[in-house]
């Protein structure tokens, strides 16, 4: 059972990272970034090529994934989302654009990388064994330990950035009230771009981390997006602590479920449980009623 809990914590940490990215974009722009899963997938491919194919060290490949996705985020925001938000007569149209970019990224990845499942060699060799495995001991590869550590580190760094730096405060101000932030001299446009870039970069880093465990393929995007939606809905859209809680909950639920139930029954139960939960808490644990 301890093994299951550790797997849950590992998954939960990375999932929280994914959910944080999605919730960041939502809180700043009120856009549900459907392409979040596809950005995760691209992050996985960046690490696959840089680290797995070209032999760059992992500690360089992972930040590279974040930077590449951050740049993609900036470009998407500048060329796709801002024009649509400015000209459309219905705000649902931002959702349309998000879906459009998701399909674009997925088709791009399918064309460039093909449908094959890709994996990378282990980042660090070795296994940590605690107790007798046959009697409930724990097995944890150093590689997985590293993934969990980096995910937690990234979350802490993000929280620190948002809480204690000037751009971080600007982000929070824009999330709270765009007009008021503007009146206080916050550069809303730059801050919005920054928020979108951070959201995309988080997806990229999460993808770069999990590629070391699960590998990656071009079709994984909508699956990850769906998971991200679950986490964000449980925690409440646009709320940081909600995203972290949702991520941890889903990570543990998945690890425990896969231990008990066969195959895809786990997610069936998770979906049903989530729908029932939302009937009682329509805005998630900490969310506000958005529109």
């Amino acid at each position: 059972m301890l093994q299951v809990l550790i797997n849950g914590a590992l998954l939960g940490a990375v999932y929280a990272l994914i959910a944080l990215g999605l919730t960041m974009v939502f809180s700043i722009m009120r856009v549900v970034n459907f392409a979040h899963g596809q950005m995760y997938m691209l992050g996985g491919f960046v690490v696959y090529y840089l680290y797995g194919q070209y032999g760059l060290p992992f500690y360089l490949a992972l930040p590279a994934a974040g930077i590449v996705l951050g740049l993609i985020g900036v470009a998407f925001n500048r060329f796709f989302f801002q024009p649509v938000l400015a000209t459309s007569t219905r705000e649902e149209n931002s959702m349309l654009m998000a879906v459009g970019t998701a399909l674009l990224l997925e088709n791009l990845a399918l064309t460039l990388f093909g449908e094959k499942q890709r994996g990378v060699p282990e980042v660090v060799e070795g296994i940590f064994i605690w107790g007798d495995v046959a009697e409930g001991g724990v097995v944890l590869t150093y590689s997985n330990m590293l993934v969990m550590g980096v995910a937690v580190l990234a979350i802490v760094a993000l929280l620190g950035f948002v809480q204690y730096t000037r751009p971080g405060r600007a982000l929070r101000a824009v999330a709270q009230d765009k007009e008021a932030a503007c009146l206080q001299g916050v550069d809303v446009k730059t801050t919005t771009t920054l928020g979108f870039a951070i959201g995309a970069a988080l997806a990229g880093i999460a993808g770069g981390l999990l590629v070391t465990i699960y590998g990656v393929n071009a079709g994984v995007g909508s699956n990850i997006s769906t998971k991200a939606f679950i986490m964000v809905m449980i925690g409440g859209a646009g709320v940081t602590k909600g995203a972290i809680l949702g991520g941890l909950l889903l990570g543990f639920a998945e690890a425990i479920g896969y231990d008990i139930f066969p195959g895809s029954v786990t997610y069936l139960i998770i979906f049903v449980a989530m729908i029932i939960f939302l009937l009682f808490k329509p805005n998630g644990m900490f969310g506000k009623p958005w529109g």
Binding site: R30, S94, G100, T226, M233, L279, G284, P289, G291
Partner: protein, 336 residues
């Protein structure tokens, strides 16, 4: 009659009329007919999605109900040997029933929560069929379904598709351009306000959802006998997203928008076939371009109403409210 409705009528009639006579010219080409049958089936399903957008909800779960319709068809045809003419309405009814049942709970969610939840719902329904044991035959699906028409000609199936399309169009038309349609618009503009004027919002919401899901089941049933099989993978999240895109790209202000979107996008995809491995990529790029250039859909092309004046206050209630620019109601991000 306002210009929006006029445009809607012209386009709807043209599509139906062209579909009616087209087999005279391409009747021998199985490929062309099957593309058009695809378009017709997708339009039926997308019209349901369109109705949910007209009550102000971003609905991305239609594939789940198409799957329910498809499986109802598959199970009734193989296990009970019923005639397809009994099975087809039953499939629509079962999807509508489950839609009303699920909808009566989830429709109280709004905005992005509803959208995200319906995505999850698609996946949940797929997983339910995947784990349905011997009843749904798991990932093997139900195969070898009998065709409703004897003979080799694809034309009967084609005209069945056209008939279903005409039925779905008529149904949505009747709903949208009637008192109920005005209530739906009032609900999109401001649900709380509509409720405070004595509208039984809950009832109308569930009604809209049942109709929408019923159309999903109808289309799902058509596709199931069309390809003579149904699998859990037959209708997935990706399909749900495409149904939504058809409505958006066609135009949410027009009933025929869903049809135009389904036809244009499906035919476009087929036209791009000669680019082979770049087909999906070019398709994606073109789709983004349309969203950028025509954010209000293809039907708004050349319409003076499509431009600007986002801030205009919506006239609420009132006979024949123009469902155009006036009710530019933000669905996402309204802080209430």
């Amino acid at each position: 009659m306002n210009s929006l409705k006029k445009r809607d009528i012209y386009v709807s009639f043209s599509v139906l009329a062209i579909m009616l006579v087209l087999p005279l010219f391409i009747g021998q080409s199985r490929y062309l007919l099957s593309v058009l049958m695809n378009c017709a089936g997708l339009s039926v399903i997308a019209l349901g999605v369109w109705l949910i957008f007209s009550i102000g909800r971003g609905y991305i779960g239609q594939a789940g109900f198409a799957l329910i319709g498809g499986y109802t068809t598959g199970i009734l045809l193989t296990r009970y040997n019923l005639s397809y003419w009994v099975v087809l309405p039953l499939s629509a009814l079962s999807a509508a029933f489950f839609g009303a049942l699920i909808g009566s709970f989830i429709l109280k969610l709004r905005g992005i929560y509803f959208s995200m939840l319906t995505i999850s719902l698609t996946e949940a329904i797929r997983l339910a069929f995947l784990n349905g044991g011997s009843f749904t035959q798991g990932s093997k699906g139900i195969t070898g379904l009998p065709q409703p028409f004897s003979g080799d000609s694809p034309l009967p199936m084609y005209y069945l598709g056209l008939a279903l399309l005409a039925f779905a169009l008529l149904l949505i038309w009747r709903v949208h351009y009637s008192r109920v349609g005005r209530i739906f618009r009032a609900m999109r503009l401001n649900e709380d306000l509509a409720e405070s004027f004595g509208t039984d919002v809950w009832r109308y919401r569930v009604m809209a959802f049942a109709i929408a899901c019923g159309l999903g089941g109808l289309g799902g049933s058509y596709f199931t006998v069309f390809i003579q099989s149904v699998y859990p993978q037959s209708f997935t999240v990706e399909h749900s997203i495409y149904y939504m895109l058809y409505c958006f790209l066609g135009g949410l202000e027009y009933v025929s928008g869903a049809i135009v979107g389904a036809f244009v996008l499906t035919i476009l995809f087929e036209l791009l076939r000669e680019f082979q491995q770049y087909q999906t990529l070019i398709y994606g790029v073109l789709m983004i371009s349309v969203i950028l250039l025509l954010p209000n859909g293809l039907m708004a092309l050349g319409s003076s109403k499509s431009e600007g004046s986002k801030k205009a206050l919506p006239p609420i209630g009132g006979a024949d409210t123009t469902p155009g620019k006036a009710d530019a109601k933000p669905m996402i991000g309204r802080s209430s």
